[in-house]
């Protein structure tokens, strides 16, 4: 059986049950979550990260769209309170965008400021961050939300290279990676290349959630589909 971790998304784990896996996000795999703008991708990421935190699984959160303050306030909207996990250092944050607002961020043990337009620096911070969460537990989650801003600030091929390096690091350390991307912000060649880098893809289109998992060791591809809604609990897969 393939080990999975609870997604924290109501209905998702039931949807993804098969003879190979119990349902949930396959452990130590990488997942691309994509779809048109405003379909719940960030909410999904936050929900997954929070579920892990609740079980004291460390999380490396790379935020490139929103500053830490905004991430925190977005999560608070769903009652997902992360302050205590920042304090006890279960949550490690690389904030790649706040510098752009002119705000001064003080780096701490587990909050690092970087710049989305400086991929070399981002990768150094990711390296340090991965080691830090890995030392705590070899079951950790890593979120990257999202690739869009990286694409806006860098050449497409550069972003692909950073992403490959990032995914390699997560895999080597045994982490489970979830990466968000807005469909349509690069050309279709880049988009296809992007999808091919991941073990699983999840597409949200505002109405349907479509999950595709490539279980290489079993030479099987599984796909699942359902409707979903967004409520005050976050994304809810409601199987209609």
């Amino acid at each position: 059986m393939i080990q999975t971790i609870e997604s924290g998304i109501p209905g998702f784990d039931q949807l993804t049950v098969s003879e190979l896996a119990e349902g949930g996000i396959p452990e130590k795999s990488t997942t691309l979550i994509y779809g048109p703008p405003k379909t719940g991708k960030s909410i999904f990421c936050n929900q997954f990260a929070y579920q892990g935190l609740l079980k004291q699984e460390p999380c490396l959160y790379v935020s490139t769209d929103q500053g830490l303050k905004q991430v925190q306030s977005n999560m608070m909207g769903f009652n997902w309170l992360i302050q205590s996990y920042i304090q006890n250092q279960t949550l490690y944050i690389i904030d790649g965008i706040s510098q752009l607002s002119g705000a001064k961020l003080e780096d701490t043990n587990n909050i690092k400021s970087s710049s989305v337009g400086n991929p070399a620096d981002m990768m150094v911070k990711v390296g340090i961050g991965t080691r830090s969460v890995y030392k705590k537990s070899n079951h950790f989650i890593s979120i990257l939300d999202s690739l869009n801003t990286l694409f806006a600030f860098n050449q497409e091929q550069m972003v692909i290279r950073i992403l490959k390096a990032y995914l390699r690091r997560i895999r080597e350390a045994g982490g489970t990676g979830l990466i968000a991307y807005t469909e349509g912000v690069t050309n279709s060649d880049t988009e296809n290349e992007l999808k091919s880098l991941f073990d699983n893809t999840i597409r949200l289109d505002g109405e349907y959630i479509r999950v595709e998992s490539n279980f290489e060791d079993y030479e099987e591809v599984k796909s699942y589909e359902s409707t979903y809604i967004i409520t005050d609990e976050g994304v809810v897969v409601n199987g209609k």
């Binding site: 703008p37 405003k38 909207g77 752009l100 002119g102 801003t149 806006a152 807005t182 912000v185 809604i229």
Partner: protein
């Protein structure tokens, strides 16, 4: 979609608060979030922006207004058409205008701390002026509004990805200072990739097509729509 109550500010558009009301909430534009208003040409996007600006000024919220389509004089004229006189707010410095069209050397712009010239083809200069504008306004009132009318012209004069970066920086600055920004954009005036990028930058998306106003996305509520008219009071739902 029902999310915990999110504080909203009044849009100034009759009917908009009712349309966007959620359980227990007041409706309006969620405070301190970014909104894109887009649609075909001549559907009332600028009027929406102006109405939003004027409503803020009336309720004592200053506004940072970045105009790339019209000079300050034209902006004033179009506000007057709807009886939204802004002279007073220019005088008391609660309306801060960055004018990227009029030429100050030709005496078209009044000498004022809060009317600043910039250049449509110089995004770096625009960002510097935005920085000092936000700083000036924020000092006087951390609750403020900001409008860019429009991203279309910025995109037309500059490298598109550069403008996406500039707009991202703009939104980050205004949000960090506590303001509520709106960006106006004419549909299909840039390619699809840029348009998708624009939508992914903001929290809320409103589309005007001449007949219907569609709230395509808004923090805390689902998709909603209503027919609208443009009357002498501006946009009315």
């Amino acid at each position: 979609m029902v999310i915990k109550m999110i504080p909203c500010i009044e849009s100034g558009i009759p009917g908009f608060e009712e349309l966007t009301r959620s359980n227990g909430g007041t409706g309006g534009i969620p405070e301190n979030t970014a909104t894109l208003v887009y649609g075909p040409a001549k559907t009332g996007k600028s009027i929406f922006g102006n109405q939003f600006t004027y409503q803020g000024l009336l309720s004592g919220e200053p506004c940072l207004y970045i105009t790339t389509d019209k000079g300050l004089k034209q902006f004033e004229t179009s506000m007057n058409e709807f009886q939204w006189p802004i002279e007073r707010y220019l005088e008391d410095n609660s309306l801060y205008v960055i004018d990227t069209i009029s030429d100050v050397s030709k005496g078209k712009l009044p000498k004022s701390k809060t009317v600043v010239q910039s250049y449509i083809n110089n995004p770096t200069d625009i960002m510097v002026k935005v920085g000092s504008g936000v700083h000036y306004i924020y000092r006087n009132n951390p609750r403020f509004r900001s409008v860019i009318d429009s991203a279309t012209t910025l995109l037309a004069y500059n490298d598109n990805m550069l403008i996406i970066r500039v707009l991202k920086a703009y939104l980050m600055r205004v949000n960090e200072a506590g303001g509520t920004p709106i960006i106006l954009y004419t549909e299909n005036s840039a390619d699809r990739i840029v348009e998708t990028m624009l939508k992914s930058l903001v929290d809320n998306i409103i589309r005007l097509d001449g007949k219907e106003l569609v709230v395509e996305a808004m923090k805390g509520i689902g998709k909603r729509s209503s027919p609208y008219l443009i009357t002498d009071k501006g946009i009315e739902l």
